[in-house]
Structure formats: C-alpha cells, structure tokens
Symmetry: C2
Subunit: 622 residues, 2 copies
C-alpha cells in the first residue's frame, strides 16, 4: 500500500448521526452535552434531602409531608433543587394522602443519576477510525451530537469487458442470444464492495476493443473514483488488453500471482489510483478481488480488514495441489461423529455454484503438494459456525429428490451437505464416519434385493438402519424424438451411437452392468462406456448438448431437460443411517420428512417416482 | 413462538435479483438457463474435432489449416459446430499465417466447458430460507433469474414514550431544555432491527398519557406492522402504562424477567401481533430487545438467529451478582501474557457508553453469586476477534491524555482498553499480569521521586521500564468565580465547604494526603473526605453539579468543564511497562507516539501539561 500514499485517502465528509451506521469516524468525536444533563431520579418515588432522613429505622420511622420536604418524582425526571436523594416508592408507607413514613435512612445521592455520570460535555465519545455501531449512534445522540465527520466511502468503479457479454439489465427484458454470456461478475463484486464499506459503481459493458477499454479506464480514474477494477482480459490472450492499457496509462506493479483461482490478476496504478485487473472466470474474479481489492478499501477507510472466522476440520478426501502456487478450495462442512469434516467441491473456476454451495474455503500453501484424506485443515467460514452443527451430511448416490429434501429440511433449521459420489462411496463414507447418511441403490444380482448384500460385504462392522426412499424408473435418456431410434441395450453397440456412462460405484452403472451381463453384451463394444459423469443431470446434459446420444438415468432428469425417455427398470433408492445416529435430531427430522405426505406429493410430481413406502424401515433379509 | 402461529408470517414478495442482497428466499429458486448455455472455449486457442488430433506427438507433429479444420476461439466464446476440443494457443507452433502444427493429441471435450457443466435449466440454484449472498446474486443472474421471491421484511414499529423526551430531530435544530432528555433508544433499536433483516419504523414520541399510548399501540398493530415495541413505561411505576394497555387490548404473556439489565420487560400479543414493552434505561432497552425482540424477527424471516462469536477469557476482577437472576456485564478485552483478560465495565444501565466501550458481554447465570478474579468466563464478542490481539491494556491512574493516546494509536491499528483504578492498582495489575502498561504518579514523600519507591515496595519481582509521560498541574477545582473563596488546604476544613475525594490508591489522593500531613490537617476534619470518585472528570462533575464545592484534579479536567482552578503542585505522570513487553509491537508504537512532536502538541493544547521530556526512559535512582 506504500506506493499509494496519503493522497489516495478518500477524505472525509459530515453526515447526520442517525444515518451513520457502519461508517468510519474521520476523527475523535466529543460530547456536546453531559449525560445526564441534570440530576436525574433513578427510581420512581419521592425526592428528598438525604440529611432529613438520617435516623429513620424500623423502630423509629420518620414522617414527611408531600410537597413540603418531599416531592413525588418519576424515573428520568430532574430532582427538585435542594434535594439529593430519591426514596423508592416501594419503601414508602402512606399515612394519608399527604403524609408518608419511611423506616430507612438514605445516603446523599442515593437513587440519583448525577449530572455527567456517564460522560460530560467535552469528553471523547468515540475515537478516530471507529466503525459506527447501533450503540454508538445512541451514545452520539445522547451526547447531543447530530452530525459527525466520517471517512468518505471509497468509490470503486467496476468495468465489465467482453464482446460476448449480455447485461443483467437486458436480461430483465429478454433472454440472451446464443453465444452471449450473462455478465454477473461485477454484480458480485459490487456487493462485496458495498459490504466492505465502499460505493460500487458499475460501468456499462465494454466490448473487447483496446481503444474503448482504454477510454473507460482513463475516464474512470479521472472522474472521482478511488479504485478502478477491470473485469476479464487480465490474462495474456489476443483480446486481453488490461495489462497493456494500464502500462500505457500508468504503471503495472504486478501481473500474475501465484494462486489458483485468480492467477491472472493485475495490480497497477494510473494517476495515483489503484487499477486492478481481475480474471474473467467468476470464482477467479471473486478470489482475486477479495484478496487484492478489499484490503485497499479497508486501507482507504483506515480500518483493519474484516477477517472471516477460521475453524479446524478434517479433510474428507485427498486433495492434490500443484507446488509453487497457493490453491483455494471451496468446501462443504458438517459435523459427523464429533469431528468437523470438510468435503472439497469441484475446482472449476467457471462454476459460480461452487461458491454458493460452499460453507468455507481452505487454502493450500505454495510449498504443499496437497492434503491427505483425514488430515487437519484450516477452514475460513462463509456461514455462521452454528450452521455446521445443524448440517446433515449425505454422501452417496445422486437423486433429484435430495434437493427437495434439503429444501424441506432447511425449513426446520437443518442444512444438507450432499456429495454425489455414487452408492458404494456413500457406504464407505459411513465406514470412515464422514457422513450421517448414505444414499444407495445397489442391486444384488443373485437375490434381486437392494443394498443389504453390499452393506454386509463393504461395511460389516457398521450397524445401520435402512430406510426406504423412493422407487424410481431408470431408463435411456435420448434426444427429443429419439433421432437415433434407440430402443434397447443392443443399440448401444451400434457404430453411430455414442453412450455416456456413470462413474464406477454408481448404482446406475451397476444396473447397466447387470443388464449387459444378463444379455451378454461386451462393455468394450459400447462407444463412450468409459465416458463418466457423476449425476443423472450431467448425463442428461451430455445427451442434450450432443456430447452423447444416449445415457442411463431417472425419468425426472429426462423430464427436467425435456429429453425423451425409454423406461428400462424400476429400482429402489434407500437411505442408510448408522445405528449411532438414529437418535440424532437431524436424522429424526429427515425420516419424518421422507415419510410425510407433503414430501411424497412433491417427489411424485417430478415424475417417475413411486413413493408408497417412503420412510419405511427395511429389515435385514434372513 | 408457538403462540404467534402461522398467520404472523409477514408473507413474501417478488423483488429484483440485483436488489436481493441479504434477503431471505421464500421458496426454492430454479435455473431458467443452463450454465454455460453453449459449449464454451475454456482457453484461448483453436477449436478442433479431437479425433483429427489423434496421433500428434513430439516426433509426429500434425498440421492444420486455420479456417478449414480448426478455428480461432477465445475463452468464453462458443466452439463451432462439429468441434469438441480447444488446442491451447501456447501449444500451437505456427508454420505460416494459415497453418500450424501440434505435438500433442487432445481428448474429446478437452479445454471446453460443456453446456450445463455448472447447472442446467430447471435445477435448484437456491433452497428456501437462504440468506442471499453476493455470490448467490451472481449464481441467480447466471441462471437467468432476474426476479425472486423473498420473505417480506417484518415491519417493526418502535414507539418512544415519555413526557420528558426530546427528539433527535429537534436536536438537529436546538439543544434540549433543562429537564428534557434526548430520545435515542429507538434509534439504537432501529439499527438493530435493520441489521436483523426487519424494517424499523420509528413513531413520534408519545407523552406519558394512557389514552395516547393506548392509541399508538392500537393503531400500530392495526396498520401493517408485524411487531410493536413500546419503549419505557414497562415497569410498575405510576406512569408505567404499557402492561395495562397490552392487557386491555390483548394479552400480557410475560411481565418481568429474571435478568439484569432488562428486568421490566413485557411480552404480549395484541390482535395476533407481538407487542414488546422494553425498559427506559438504554442498556436495559438494548438487552431486552436483543434477547426478546430480535429472535421474533428471525423467526418471522424463517432463519436461525444470528449468534455473535463466543470466546473464553479470564476475569480481571471479582464480579459479584445476585442469586435468582441472570446478570449481563459489559467487559473490555485484551490479550496479556498469552491470556485473554476481561475487565468488567460499570453496571449502570443508564450509561450507554458502557455498551460503546465494551468489547464483549459476559452472562452470570441465575444460580451464581458471581465470578472470582482469575476465573474463566465465556464472552460474547461485540467486535472482531482480531481486535483483542491488537488491544493494549492500560490500567492505573486516570489522565485525559489517555484518550488522546488511544485516538492516536487506533490510527496504527492498536486499540486501547483503559481502566481507571488508580496508580497503585495499576502496579498490582502488572504483578497479576492483567495489563501491558500501568500509569502512575505516586510520590515518595521522603525523596520527592515519583513511582520507583512504590515499584520496589509493591512489585519488586516484576522487572519494569519506566517512561515519562507528562508533567501536570494538580490543583483545586472550584465553581466559576470561586464562590466559596477556597484558596488553600485550610479551607477544606471549613464547615460550609464540602470536598470530593479520589479513591484510595489514586496518586491524586496520595498527593492530597502528603500535603495534609505536611501542614498538619486531620482528614476527619474535612467534610466529604470519604466521598470517592475514580477520575478527574468525575471529581470535576461533582463540583460542577453542586455535589461538592471543591475537589482536587488536573487543570485539563477543570478546563474541560469550565471550572476555576487553583494550582497547588506540578507532578509527574509516567508509564510503567514490564520488561517482557518492551518488544511488543503495541508498546513500541505507544512509546513512539508518546515521544512524537504531534502528540506533545496535542497534549499541550489541553492546558496544564508539561511535555518536554515525554517518552524519555527514566532510570532507577541509585
């Protein structure tokens, strides 16, 4: 920050005290009035000069005439001149309407708030660089201060660049055309600026044109903004102009930082103003701005940067990372078996939902190759710590009903952390005690019974309860109209058909293999058998977008994306809960919801689900 | 909450996504568009069908013609139909302007973000009861969602009552008359409501009149407010009408709670709406509303109540409390010798500054008689945890320069927690390791040397450095014009003169006793010798307000309150720092400031201070 210097201070301004919440004082603030400003009755009762009460005792009660030596007074009112104490109304024995007795003497100033007891005129109420709280506003008004000097909020100009961008404003009237992307990065950054105490100013979208971006940056630094942020174009591609523009107009201090996401960050100065180039991927833009932009705002305001709380957690998985750069991972958190467990979300810097779904962030340092499963990590929290306590961790097979379930549970204060890793990995999570619930639909080919054989085989030492979730239709998802005319498993081996599979351990893949085996089809004859997706929805997307012609999944996923569906089988999708968690409040609530009529109705409306026995406990077959 | 029932829900409303920060979703929100909505280049380079790159290797480079089999593409743009991978520009070896070679094959979909990779149309982006974050706004816009359903903010009507009240609005034009008190409680509550997600509505001040308050409450519950709060009048005095009014219009559920401050809280229901009566003292009003009002707002919004972080700390002092009620104490916090130390602030519920000065709150439970010095307590934090690390704890003698010092230190990110307990108690705090610095002006009558004799006697085992603070004029503070004609110590024994003293262990009291002893005056001949105040300012207030005729203190305190001053002596006020803290960054900064010209100038301007040797280290006399 040293390079920026004092002239970059946004200066100060006078504002009304009642509008000052969250602002930062630019200097000390002194009381204009004392509090209280007069000797004030601290109780309801009678004001008196304490000296005339001396001698009052249970056996020598003293009497007083109201209006002669004592005067009625209520809390908050001044005591009359000559008095210096208040007899509490509760201690008064009325003789008649005009006279009362007391059995206890008062000391001078008893039950009186003296002038200036809290503070006196000219005393400092607040120091410099104070972030004004609700209480502070009260204290200032109490001290007669109706206007205060505060640091002017730094204005942060956010310039979105990119010829492909479509503004959120346009979006309110019409959908984007093909090849247009909605510009939302500067909307995120704007909220971050506002929360940090700055004033965000969102510029219009500037196309990928050197002269136009240059003009926007130049007029940005010249027109009263304290910080200028150029979003996208901070890398080194043919249309990445930010670095050259900053270099032309001022000075590039840093181009590229050893962190992921956020590597192509640019820090520069133009006419004494900080200019920051942030990457175009939303997660990269966020990390880049939070790490390099927000501290500048705090520095301009003269306050310490806000630090989110940090907790320790066990990593639910191995997380590899490259040496030589800091890497940030978004994680889901939950408390399982007394330990807080962090499950990393996907890395994709283009996936904004990895931030919305995250409960926290872990940082892997420069000199580390990653973290091992079960090792302790520091997690910067994005949510309230108490939320972790109330989070139910579900790991296993993906189904669209999990979203409905999460949406119902949150109404009861229970949050859901779900990881879609397949049925088998779900069972193993129970073994490692990193989940409260596994979701599974693993068919035993010999008996036709779901799940129990796998429980016996893979987690024999974990006593569990099995609860029926839903029956669901599995089938082939194909493009509308079924253009490749796919009707059965044999069509998967056709030369003109590309299949998209689920990952190993997924129940849907087990089901596929069961049929291929039964029919006698060799998996190596299926083009795309090795192409793996982790959810029904991703398989549907692969089909919809032409990556594949056909995939296997549930009807609800096909319905959601408007695909055609060729039913193959009805299967059983269950919830498996370790015995030791059966009394957990979150599990009790979960099972209650699964069995409820409203949940069944909601799930049935997705299509392809049987909910007759949802929530029923399934006993181990003999 | 059960009594309130579903009909008290404030309902929902549709708002623009870009204006939704901090709001609460009223139902799940689904994507209208997939993200990405087309197969998108994830890198700058050339789009290609991966199959034609098969076989490319370092010794078998493959060549491509731009515009025939490969097409230039930038990050974020769609890849042309028929392509399914992007060759990174960094991997391209140009042969000429139209042709390039590559030495590495691509797999299908390499460097491509496929349609729906983050989420697909119809997928749930956010569940119900989600507090919208900056990231969420990005995700919603990304999903094409420009309007969302949120829970309507509960409207909270705040009715200030009291005939003595003077509004903050009036205060902007003129000061209050004698006997008027500034109404600031509802301004504090309004900010608390806003922060909790409600809409505060401040009513006009209602005088203490049953019919008028009744009318305000009745129209309040009938006119679209979700909660009504009546401030003051919640006790049982002659003008405390709230309980009777609620009983007349509806039902009183609770009147009086076993907590301090906040005991006379009223919880009632009128026409199905919660009506809360809060006490008139500001600290009581705050605790009452935070404990009983804020949870109702959270409940109406359908979100968990926000919990401030809690830490453990050692109590710097014994804190007695009455059995049978919860008692809340405001505390200052600091980290001394590796331990977090909590120092309780005064209890007075009328002192709003006990909240503004507090770093945290401790709760003493119903069944406890208080806490011992040095025992562990749970502290609910009002500030950021990091602030505790950066807090310098100063205990000892009071001087007005401490405020200046605190104001200078905060500009360097150092906060000051100061307790005015007198010089001797300051030294003892160093012994107990509950302070970084003691402030002291203890005169050794035999040698005329300050502080060292007391250090040797009371803390011989604590190696310390002594740094000179200021020389300051001590004298008598008397009313303007000196109406009692007080000229010297002998006047203190006059029958018509009331003195106000400092507490035992205060350097000013030691100085007084030194002179009384020297002159041969018996302390018992001085009326008010036993009346103790803890600061120069409080002594000055006692004189100003007529509680006493004369007190001893520094010129700056007399100046601040416009009192006359009769100089008696110049004394030495020093900073005593344990050797082990001399390398502490906060101490280094403190000593730097004390020695700086700007600090000296600022202190000198207060009057009565000598700053020639400020900051100088004083060596132990031989």
């Amino acid at each position: 920050m040293a390079r920026l210097g004092r002239k970059n201070s946004p200066g100060s301004e006078q504002i009304r005290t009642v509008k000052s919440f969250g602002r930062v004082t630019s200097g000390p603030i002194y009381a204009k009035l004392s509090s209280p400003s007069f000797h004030t009755a601290a109780m309801d009762g009678f004001a008196v000069n304490a000296s005339i009460t001396f001698g009052a005792a249970p056996d020598t009660a003293l009497g007083f005439v109201i209006g002669e030596s004592t005067w009625p007074v209520n809390t908050g009112r001044p005591i009359p001149a000559g008095t210096n104490a208040v007899i509490m109304i509760e201690h008064v024995n009325f003789v008649n309407d005009e006279t009362f007795e007391i059995e206890k003497a008062l000391v001078p100033w008893e039950n009186v708030r003296r002038v200036g007891e809290d503070f006196v005129q000219s005393e400092m109420i607040l120091p410099s660089r104070r972030i004004i709280s609700a209480y502070d506003i009260g204290a200032l008004l109490c001290g007669g201060v109706t206007k205060i000097g505060v640091v002017r909020k730094p204005r942060v100009l956010l310039i979105p660049t990119g010829s492909e961008l479509f503004s959120a404003k346009q979006l309110e009237n019409q959908p984007p055309d093909f090849a247009q992307s909605i510009e939302f990065n500067t909307h995120i950054l704007a909220e971050l600026v506002a929360q940090a105490g700055g004033v965000p100013v969102r510029a219009d979208i500037v196309p990928d044109d050197y002269a136009l971006i240059r003009k926007a940056v130049k007029s940005g630094v010249e027109s009263g903004n304290d910080i200028v942020v150029v979003n996208a174009g901070s890398s080194a591609g043919s249309e990445d102009y930010t670095a050259s523009i900053i270099a032309e107009l001022g000075e590039v201090l840093v181009h590229g930082v050893a962190m992921m996401p956020g590597k192509p960050t640019i820090l520069g100065i133009v006419k004494g103003k900080p200019v920051i180039g942030t990457p175009g991927y939303p997660v990269s833009a966020v990390f880049s701005f939070e790490i390099f932009g927000l501290p500048v705002i705090s520095w301009m305001l003269g306050i310490p940067e806000y630090n989110k709380p940090i907790i320790s957690a066990f990593s639910a998985r191995k997380v590899p990372s490259k040496l030589g750069r800091e890497e940030f991972f978004r994680v889901k958190l939950g408390k399982v078996g007394g330990r807080t467990v962090a499950a990393p979300l996907p890395r994709g810097a283009g996936s904004i939902t990895t931030l919305t779904r995250a409960d926290g962030i872990i940082k892997i340092p420069l000199n580390s190759e990653g973290i091992e499963q079960g090792s302790m990590v520091e997690v910067t929290l994005l949510n309230q710590p108490q939320q972790i306590e109330n989070t139910l961790v579900i790991i296993g097979s993906h189904d669209l009903t999990i979203d409905c379930l999460a949406d119902e549970l949150v109404k009861h204060g229970v949050y859901v952390s779900s990881s879609n890793v397949g049925s088998l990995s779900g069972l193993l999570a129970l073994k490692n005690d990193t989940a409260h619930v596994a979701t599974s639909h693993l068919l035993d080919e010999d008996t036709g019974i779901y799940n129990w054989a796998y429980i016996k085989k893979f987690i024999p030492d974990v006593p569990v309860g099995v609860f029926h979730g839903v029956m669901r239709e599995q089938g082939f998802m194909v493009k509308t109209g079924n253009p490749k005319n796919i009707l059965g498993f044999h069509d998967l081996t056709r030369n003109d058909v590309t299949f998209v599979n689920r990952q190993k351990g997924a129940g849907t893949r087990v089901l596929l293999d069961y049929y291929l085996n039964k029919i006698g089809i060799d998996a190596s004859d299926i083009k795309g058998y090795e192409m793996e997706e982790y959810t029904h929805t991703s398989v549907a997307v692969s089909v919809l977008s032409g990556v594949a012609d056909v995939g296997m999944g549930v009807l609800a996923a096909a319905n959601a994306l408007g695909l055609d569906f060729i039913p193959l089988a009805t299967e059983q999708y269950d919830f498996i809960v370790p015995q030791k968690y059966l009394e957990d409040e979150k599990i009790i609530k979960l099972l209650e919801i699964i069995g409820s009529q409203s949940f069944r109705t909601r799930v049935a409306s997705l299509g392809g689900y049987g909910v007759e026995r949802s929530g029923e406990r399934l006993l181990e077959p003999k």
